[in-house]
C-alpha cells in the first residue's frame, strides 16, 4: 500500500515568542513493512539543529526558530510504501533493553480499576495469548468517544470514564501489560482513514508489547487489531509525552494555540 501523508501543525502565540525550540520524532521508523519513498519536514523560519538516532531506534531532530515570531508551521509531507507484518516490528535497530519499559509513568500509573482489568492477562498459556487478551479487554473497557478525554488524561481516569481516544487506549494497554510484567510502550504514527476507518484520527497511537521470541508486537485496541499496511510508525516512548512526535518550548508570555490537521491517503499499488 502506498500512503500519502500530509501533516500540518500550526502554533500561534498571543504575544510574539522571542524564540522557539522543538525536538521532533517525525521520521518514519526504519523497519520491515514500511519504506520511505519521499519525506520532508519543514519548520517555517526554522534552523535545523542536531539530529541523532536514539536508543529506541527513533531519529530525533532538533529545531530552533529565532523570534520574534507569532506563528510557526511544522509541515510534514511524505509517501511511504507499506506492507503487513502482522503487527510484528522487524528489522528495527534499537539498543534499549525491553526491561526499561516495565516502569510506570504518571500517565500509566497502576491505580483505580487498572489492577482489576490487568487480570485479563492471567491464565494464558503464552505471553502472546495474554497480550491479545489484554488488548481485547482494553477495547471492551474503553469505548472510542472523542471529546471525553484530553491530552493529560491518565490511563486510570480514561478507564473510569469508560471512554477515550487512541491515546487513552494505548495508555491503558501499557499500564495493564506492565502490571503483567510484559514490557509495553506507547507508539505514535499515522493511520490511513480509508474504508471503514471513518471516525478514527489520522495521527494515531497504539501500543507495542514485548514478546520473548517475537520481539516487539503492535496492538491497537482503538481498532481492535494489530497494525498492518494502513499504519506508519514514527516513534515510541513510555507514554504519550515520552513518544510525542513534537515537543516544543516557546519563550513567550502570552497564550499559545495549537492546530493540527492530518490527512493520510491510501493508494492501492
Amino acid at each position: 500500500m502506498l500512503l500519502m501523508i500530509d501533516h500540518l501543525t500550526l502554533y500561534r502565540y498571543e504575544t510574539p515568542a522571542r524564540g522557539v525550540v522543538q525536538s521532533h520524532r517525525l521520521m518514519p521508523s526504519t523497519c520491515a513493512g514500511q519504506e520511505v519513498v519521499a519525506w520532508e519536514v519543514t519548520v517555517s523560519g526554522g534552523v535545523k539543529g542536531g539530529g541523532f538516532r536514539d536508543g529506541a531506534g527513533d531519529w530525533v531532530q532538533g529545531w530552533s526558530v529565532t523570534g520574534p515570531v507569532s506563528e510557526i508551521a511544522v509541515q510534514v509531507r511524505g509517501k511511504v510504501a507499506t506492507s503487513d507484518t502482522a503487527g510484528v516490528l522487524r528489522g528495527h535497530r534499537e539498543t534499549i533493553s525491553p526491561e526499561v519499559y516495565l516502569v510506570p509513568t504518571a500517565a500509566t500509573a497502576l491505580t483505580g480499576a487498572l489492577p482489576t482489568l490487568a487480570k485479563a492477562g492471567q491464565g494464558q498459556a503464552t505471553v502472546l495469548g495474554a497480550a491479545h487478551e489484554l488488548s481485547c479487554a482494553v477495547t471492551q473497557a474503553v469505548a472510542y468517544q472523542p471529546g471525553t478525554t484530553h491530552a493529560h488524561t491518565t490511563a486510570a481516569e480514561a478507564l473510569a470514564l469508560g471512554a477515550g481516544v487512541c491515546q487513552d487506549h494505548a495508555h491503558v494497554l501499557c499500564a495493564v501489560a506492565r502490571a503483567n510484567q510484559i514490557p509495553a510502550r506507547y507508539v505514535s504514527g499515522y493511520l490511513s482513514s480509508d474504508a471503514q476507518g471513518a471516525g478514527h484520527e489520522a495521527a494515531h497511537a497504539w501500543a507495542e508489547l514485548y514478546i520473548v521470541g517475537l520481539g516487539w508486537v503492535g496492538f491497537d485496541p482503538a481498532n481492535a487489531c494489530c497494525p498492518d499496511a494502513r499504519y506508519v510508525r514514527l516513534g515510541s516512548g513510555l507514554d504519550s509525552r515520552d513518544a510525542a512526535p513534537i515537543r516544543g518550548s516557546a519563550r513567550s508570555t502570552g497564550a499559545e494555540w495549537l492546530d493540527v490537521t492530518v490527512a493520510v491517503q491510501a493508494m492501492q499499488q
Binding site: V21, G49, A56, S64, T95, E99
Partner: protein, 470 residues
C-alpha cells in the same frame, strides 16, 4: 562508642603525624583559642561561605561550624586511599558506559537487570551514547570512614554533583591565614591545584563538534540553592561564567550564552542541577531552571554536560553493594577500599535479619542523601525504631541497612577544651582525560558528643584535612 579509634593515639602513644599538633594544642591558651575561633567565624561570615539546610527552617545563611583542629593523614595512608579512590572512580565510569551501551555486566549475570533498568536514575534517553572520553561522572565524591589504624570503608559514592569542595579549599585557606607557623612546622601537601585540575578535566571532555579552545560554564539552579556559594566560588577560581538556565539558549546545533557582547557558544556545562531539571523538552516539562533543547544538542555532539545525564544510576545505595563486583569485572583487580557490609531489604533473607536487629543497625533510604530519612539504631528511642520498622515493611526495596560502624574520632575543639569527635572523609576525584586527585578532601565532624551523623544538614562541622609529604 567508647571503643572508637582516636586518630591521634595508638594506645598511650601519640601517633607521629599528630606529634606537632599535640604540642601546638597544649601550648594554646584557652583565651587565644576562643579569639582564633571568633576570628575564623568572622572570616567565614565575611567571605560569605554559608550552608542552607533543607527542610529545617531557620537561618538559610547559617554558618557551617569550622573546627580548627586539623585531621592528618600520613603520606603512606594517603597513597593507599588515593589508589583505592581512583580505582573506584574508574570502575564507576566503566559501569556507566557499559549499562548505557552493551550492558556486559548484566549479560554476565553480575548485577540484576532490574536494579539498573528499573532504577529511577536510569536515563533511557542516553542509551547508546558514549560521552567524550567515555566519562559520565567527572567529579566523584567518595565518602570514606575509618575504623582503625589501617581500616577504611567506603560509605557511599556520589557520581552526580557532589558538593562541599569549597569547604575543603576554604578550610585550608583559613588555617594558613590563622596559623602560618603550623605550615612551616609540618610538611603539608597543597590542595590549591584543585581548580586548575577541575578546569583541565572539564576542558578535556569538550564535545565532538568543538574545534576550538572550549568555553566552560557552571550552571546553577540559582542563589536559593544551598550550594550556591560553592557554585560562584568555583566559577571565580576557574575564571568561567556562572550561569542560570535562562542565560543559556539553544540555536541550531549549539548552546549559547547571552553576554553583553552578544551570544557566545558554550562547549562544556558543569551543571549543579539534577537531570530532571536540565531540559524541559526531555525531562520534567515544568522545569524553569533548565535549557529547552539541551539534550538534543548534547546527544548530537554539540555540547558536553558534566556530570553526564544518567550518571546517577551508579550511585544509589542498592547499586553501591555491587561496586566491588564492578572493580573485579571491569578492571580485573581486587578492591583496594572495602564496602561496608550492606543488607538489602529487598531480599527476603536480608529483610528478616534487618528487622530482627534494627536496634543495632544503621538503616538508610536507597535514594536518600544528606543524612535525611535514616535510622541510627543504637542512638534511637524504641519509638523511633518501631516507626522505622513500619516504613521498611511498607516498602522494603526502598531501604538498606549496615552495621553501626565505630567511626574514628579526631581531636576537636569543644567548650571544655579538646575532645574526640567522630569524622568521615569526602575526597573529590576528577575524571576526564586523566584521573586526578588533590591530596586532601573534606573532613566532616559530628560536633555533638557521641554523634555519628556528620552531615552538615544535621549539625556537622568541617575541618582542614592534611596529607603529609613523605
Amino acid at each position: 562508642m567508647s571503643t572508637a579509634f582516636n586518630e591521634m593515639y595508638l594506645g598511650p602513644q601519640i601517633r607521629p603525624p599528630y606529634a606537632q599538633l599535640e604540642s601546638w594544642m597544649r601550648a594554646m591558651p584557652a583565651d587565644l583559642r576562643r579569639q582564633k575561633q571568633a576570628e575564623a567565624e568572622a572570616l567565614f561570615r565575611r567571605i560569605g561561605i554559608t550552608f542552607a539546610v533543607y527542610g529545617e527552617g531557620g537561618d538559610p545563611d547559617r554558618l557551617i561550624p569550622f573546627d580548627m583542629f586539623p585531621r592528618v593523614f600520613t603520606h603512606s595512608e594517603w597513597a593507599r586511599l588515593e589508589r583505592g579512590i581512583k580505582q573506584r572512580a574508574q570502575a564507576l565510569n566503566a559501569f556507566l558506559v557499559d549499562v548505557y551501551g552493551r550492558a556486559e555486566i548484566i549479560r554476565a549475570g553480575r548485577i540484576p537487570p532490574s536494579l539498573v533498568y528499573q532504577n529511577e536514575a536510569f536515563e533511557k534517553s542516553v542509551v547508546g551514547f558514549v560521552p567524550p572520553k567515555g566519562v559520565y561522572s567527572h567529579i566523584v565524591g567518595i565518602d570514606i570512614v575509618r575504623t582503625g589504624p589501617t581500616d577504611f570503608f567506603v560509605l557511599e559514592d556520589n557520581c552526580r554533583t557532589p558538593s562541599g569542595v569549597s569547604y575543603m579549599l576554604e578550610s585550608r585557606e583559613m588555617m594558613m591565614r590563622m596559623f602560618p607557623d603550623l605550615f612551616r612546622e609540618n610538611r603539608i601537601q597543597p590542595v590549591d591545584r584543585y581548580h586548575d585540575l577541575l578546569r583541565r578535566t572539564l576542558t578535556s571532555v569538550a564535545p565532538q563538534k568543538c574545534r576550538h579552545d572550549p568555553t566552560v560554564v557552571i550552571l546553577t539552579p540559582g542563589h536559593f540553592n544551598s550550594a550556591y556559594y560553592e557554585h560562584s566560588f568555583l566559577a571565580d577560581l576557574m575564571g568561567v561564567e556562572l550561569v542560570e538556565g535562562q542565560d543559556l539558549f539553544v540555536e541550531g546545533e549549539f548552546v549559547y550564552m547571552r553576554t553583553t557582547q552578544g551570544p557566545k557558544r558554550v562547549d562544556v556545562i558543569y551543571r549543579r542541577l539534577d537531570d530532571a531539571y536540565i531540559d524541559p523538552l526531555c525531562f520534567r516539562p515544568d522545569s524553569m531552571l533548565g535549557i529547552p533543547g539541551l539534550m538534543d544538542v548534547y546527544r548530537s555532539g554539540g555540547v558536553s554536560i558534566c556530570s553526564a545525564p544518567g550518571a546517577g544510576v551508579a550511585d544509589d545505595k542498592a547499586v553501591y553493594t555491587y561496586v566491588p563486583e564492578m572493580i573485579r569485572f571491569y578492571l580485573g583487580e581486587e578492591p583496594i577500599l572495602n564496602n561496608v557490609p550492606t543488607w538489602q531489604c529487598a531480599k527476603p533473607d536480608d529483610l528478616g535479619y534487618v528487622l530482627d536487629n534494627l536496634g543495632e543497625l544503621v538503616v538508610k533510604e536507597v535514594h536518600g542523601s544528606g543524612g535525611y530519612g535514616m535510622l541510627v539504631g543504637p542512638k534511637s528511642t524504641k519509638e523511633q525504631v518501631e516507626t522505622f520498622r513500619h516504613k521498611i515493611l511498607n516498602d522494603p526495596a526502598n531501604y538498606i541497612a549496615q552495621p553501626t560502624l565505630a567511626l574514628s574520632a579526631t581531636p576537636t575543639f569543644v567548650d571544655e577544651g579538646v575532645a574526640p569527635r567522630h569524622v568521615d572523609l569526602r575526597p573529590y576525584c576528577l575524571v576526564g582525560e586523566r584521573i586526578e586527585l588533590v591530596p586532601g578532601g573534606l573532613t566532616r565532624v559530628a560536633l555533638t558528643e557521641g554523634s555519628l551523623v556528620v552531615n552538615s544538614s544535621q549539625g556537622g562541622g568541617v575541618k582542614d584535612t592534611w596529607v603529609l609529604a613523605e
